[in-house]
């Protein structure tokens, strides 16, 4: 069976045209493969571990956080130690307190995630030493980098341990038949605790390896939850039973590889995340249904006369060692054994087809322009004329221009303080490195502009995730790209750094003329930008401003001036309140750059502009309306009349929940300002419930990135940082921004 799988793998390898792709997939699968290894063991034991995603994040964070003081070895050791401790905690509670593992690990999931956020303060961590990360992704044996080899080695090791050693085989017995194991004189408890430790250890190893390969770690919880869900799905698709006693780390490994290959193929078609998750769900459903069907059939047959007769005829009843029922069970087991293989094979076939098709498609693709609505249609098919189109005349869905001609006002950048981190957090100097990232960076040598204009150039957009903002962003991106006659393709990483790393490799393999990169994380993108840079592909970053180190490897960054906007917003806020009174801040999601900019820009600005004002509280509500409602209600009760104003990091669900809380408490006197500008926010400004919003045009954001790329293709000099224009939306001017882009 395994031989067949290897045959399959080697069969479709030539179709990749380059070994690059194989290593892309192997590298991309490394995190999930390592985590799946431990997860398979815990399922074999008949238990569940929901905390693996959180452990991945904690250990990654520890590895990066401790590397500067303890070195790689120390960082790894402590991260693995933390994983081991979590496993021990889980195991002891399951074994000694006899709590169901689902419950225990559900609890540890929240605890570990909380610890991780506490340790990282909700922000990413990164280091500037890339030697180890480079070693991890550079080919070591043939075309295989260590990042691909380590999980494979671990899998091989555990495969031998589980199947060829006495201790390993006990895991299966304990999982399948705990009483039997006990009767056989085995310490069930010890094996369970070992299992939990191994599971958490592997999750920690996966996280540490992942963080090391990026030299940074994100604090966004989505990485953890997606890892948990993908691994759970992959392990089940690999034929491991949730009831315990059956499973194979090797098959889990291949299942992870297959899923990664499949996603790779789907991405190659330019299909979005919706197709990935849909297909993932279908495959999982198919496997679960088949398992159920097999058991169902078995139940139906049980005790039936024709069945017994058939068995008597076949002579199984009289075979020396097996009773009819076990014989039946075994044949059923074999059936079920085969099915996951069939699934894997099918998945593989789909992936092969997708990837092959992609190569042919891309080789013969004509210059293709996506039809927009309105002004630019006339230029379709005339790329050479297109760049003469006046892009500044184009207007977006909100009636505002997509692009504004560059102004002559020089951007004033204040002097960098000696050591920003030593200043207090309320001092604007403390945040200098984040606020003015990219301005003083010495760029690495950049590829030279072809100088022949943007027409016909192939541009790949790696967008951060799905959100109505990003739908509008891509709209703006497409309109301007088409106006310039560029050919585009969009990858969507769904806020997952792991996925964005894979997609970066994938994008590089397609050799586009330029990549527009919207980072999921401001620091974790550094090694990805380095990879793009070393492949000789020019890159424009967009939206989230990367850290200084990352800015060295891209031509330029374009996007909203989040800090500047919130400084303006804070001043209108202070003016409305007469520069006095207490205020509170509802923060953005931890792990995002807005988590800091939209909190500390107003804090530092008000510290200087309105020193009388007092920050009463600040906390995140994870951008959920109900959580915001609860949070703000509690604040209103707690602070009473002291609370005069609220600053929100989002004008969507956070604003909805906040308005609800304010209305319920009858406190319409509270002044509210928020980051804009969605329909919800502008409706509430028009209704007079919200004082002011920042204006961040999503279409303009996408347009500016591709416009900057076009200028580079024409050989024009481009500044390292270009901000979108800054506006404050208030009741008097809100009509000019309607209808909302999203």
């Amino acid at each position: 069976m395994l031989a067949a799988l290897f045959a399959y793998l080697s069969l479709f390898a030539p179709n990749f045209l380059s070994l690059h792709n194989v290593s892309t997939i192997l590298k991309g699968a490394s995190l999930n493969a390592t985590v799946a290894l431990g997860f398979t063991i815990i399922l074999i034991l008949g238990q569940l571990d929901l905390s693996i995603g959180a452990v991945v994040m904690l250990s990654g964070m520890l590895t990066i956080g401790l590397q500067p003081s303890c070195g790689w070895a120390g960082g790894f050791a402590l991260a693995l130690g933390a994983g081991l401790l979590t496993g021990l905690f889980n195991g002891l509670l399951v074994v000694k307190a006899r709590i169901n593992s689902f419950i225990v690990t559900l609890g540890t999931m929240t605890i570990v995630m909380g610890l991780m956020h506490l340790y990282s303060d909700g922000g990413s961590k990164s280091i500037d030493d890339f030697r180890f990360a480079d070693w991890l992704v550079a080919p070591l044996v043939l075309f295989l980098p260590p990042l691909a080899l380590i999980p494979a080695l671990l899998v091989a090791l555990f495969s031998v341990f589980l199947n060829r050693t006495r201790w390993g085989r006990v895991f299966f017995l304990v999982g399948a038949n705990p009483e039997g194991a006990w009767l056989a004189g085995l310490h069930r408890d010890r094996y369970l605790i070992t299992g939990f430790c191994l599971c958490s250890l592997m999750a920690a190893a996966g996280g540490a390896l992942f963080a090391a390969s990026l030299s940074s770690m994100t604090a966004a919880a989505v990485l953890g939850t997606r890892t948990l869900m993908t691994v759970l799905a992959a392990v089940i698709i690999g034929g491991t039973l949730m009831t315990g006693g059956k499973g194979s780390v090797l098959k889990s490994y291949f299942a992870v590889l297959m899923l990664t290959t499949l996603f790779n193929g789907i991405g190659c078609y330019g299909w979005g995340f919706e197709v990935q998750i849909f297909v993932n769900g279908l495959i999982l459903a198919l496997v679960v249904l088949y398992e159920a069907y097999a058991i169902h059939q078995h139940e139906l047959l049980k005790g039936q006369r024709p069945d017994l007769l058939r068995e008597v005829r076949e002579g199984t009843v009289f075979s020396a060692c097996a009773s009819p029922e076990t014989a039946e069970g075994e044949s059923n087991m074999q059936n079920r054994d085969r099915f996951p293989m069939v699934c894997l094979t099918l998945t593989a076939l789909v992936a092969i087809a997708a990837i092959t098709a992609m190569y042919f498609k891309f080789a013969s693709l004509p210059v293709q322009i996506i039809a927009p609505d309105g002004a630019t249609t006339a230029y379709r098919g005339l790329p050479e004329a297109a760049h003469r189109l006046d892009v500044f005349a184009l207007r977006g869905t909100d009636g505002q221009p997509y692009l504004f001609p560059p102004t002559d006002d020089p951007v004033v950048i204040p002097e960098r303080p000696e050591d920003p981190k030593r200043l207090p957090e309320t001092d604007r100097g403390h945040w200098w490195d984040i606020e003015f990232a990219g301005w003083r960076v010495e760029k690495a040598p950049m590829p030279a502009s072809p100088g022949d204009g943007p027409a016909g150039k192939r541009v790949i957009l790696l967008k951060a995730g799905d959100h109505p903002y990003w739908t509008a962003y891509v709209r703006g991106f497409h309109v301007i790209a088409e106006a310039y006659g560029m050919q585009t393709k969009v990858f969507n990483s769904n806020w997952n750094v792991d996925l964005q790393a894979q997609q970066t490799d994938q994008a590089i393999n397609e050799h586009p003329d330029l990549i527009i990169f919207a980072p999921v994380d401001a620091t974790a993108c550094t090694p990805l930008l380095r990879r793009i840079h070393s492949a000789g592909i020019p890159c424009v970053t967009s939206n989230t401003i990367p850290c200084d180190e990352a800015m060295r490897y891209c031509l330029a960054w374009t996007g909203p001036d989040d800090w500047g906007q919130f400084r303006m917003l804070a001043r209108s806020f202070a003016d409305a309140l007469g520069k006095s009174g207490g205020y509170a801040i509802v923060r953005h999601m931890p792990g995002s750059s807005c988590f800091f900019s939209r909190t500390y820009a107003p804090i530092t600005e008000l510290h200087d502009y309105a020193p009388e004002m007092k920050l009463l509280a600040m906390d995140t509500a994870n951008l959920e309306a109900d959580a915001s409602l609860q949070l703000v209600s509690a604040w209103i009760t707690k602070f009473g009349d002291q609370l005069k104003g609220l600053i929100l990091a989002d004008d969507g669900f956070e604003l909805t929940g906040t308005l609800e809380a304010v209305k319920k408490a009858g406190r319409s006197d509270i002044v509210i300002v928020a980051a804009g500008n969605s329909k919800t926010g502008m409706d509430s400004v028009a209704a007079g419930e919200t004082l002011a919003l920042t204006c961040q045009s999503a279409e303009g954001d996408g347009a500016l990135a591709v416009h900057t790329a076009a200028r580079w293709f024409q050989g024009e000099p481009i500044p390292p940082v270009t901000y979108l224009p800054k506006h404050i939306i208030i009741r008097e001017n809100v009509d000019g921004f309607m209808p909302a882009q999203w």
Binding site: N100, V104, T110, I111, I277, W470, T620, L629, K638, T656
Partner: protein, 331 residues
Amino acid sequence: MNTQTTSSSKRSAARTALETAGIYAVAATLLVAGVLASPDFLTAENLLSILSGVALLGMVACGMAFITYSGNMADLSLPTTMAFSGIIAVASLSLGIVPALLLGVLAGLAIGAMNGLVVGKLNANPILWTLAVAFFMEGFMRFTWSNNQLYPEIEPGTPGAAFIGIFRLRTGPVPLIVLVMLALFAVAHLVMTRTRFGRESRLVGSSRAAARSSGIRVSRVVFFNFLAAAFAASVAGIFLTSMNKLGVFYLGQGYDFKAVTAVVIGGVMLSGGRGHIPGVFGGVLVIGLLTNIMTFLGITAFRQNIVTGLVFIAVVGFQQYQLRARGKDYA
């Protein structure tokens, strides 16, 4: 015969009171802690705001309790059920407010029915099946509405405005959502204790095989359990959508694990067949009180996570210990 029934029902009521006493003791402790934390804590407004803060969670937990109680552990597709019924309701608002709401609930029930059929009839693993459903429903919703948010009209007098108003309705000082949650809990309690379906669910949860042997149509019982959960989730989903003033695929995320937490903390055993609806209500209260008090004390979200996790494990551990001490099996 008659006296026997009354005495047995009395005894069962007493047992319910005893077994749920623990979680209410925790809630009472929290109340005292709250009073100590702030003088403004024990006001009608604050208590009402705690209740309305957990109302949606309460509804979902109430539905999830049916799943857990009948031995199916958890329904991970409840968040997508919430999002789906909300989206469908918003999408069909042009038909008028009542048909829209009905269609929304029906859409949720459809998912529940599918889950119920597959898990009940085919014995599919409930967690894995519902995870798969959550995956492909998310993909389906993203695809159909191209990752966009769906806004209802907000002009006064339109069905859209009425839809948005649902969440904001109140009788006197009490919001409608709190009443709906209480009603759901009351009905669920009656169904669990007073109907044949409730008793059958208990047996199915305790032992599927025993239930089957005693002539209970297990697949039908499981089917209705999933239907009940989907119903509660779609009602909560419609309220959530009404609250957010828009329908989108990611509404309701996280409600699955939050609801399981409430259900389990309320004393319903994950292995099924043991627990009470009043206990679940107590669990929901504890979660609401805990969040509120921690916010009062100025404990930020990161630390709140840690405390909640520890309290969760401690409470459940204590329940298990009590059960074992009383000579009942461990679950």
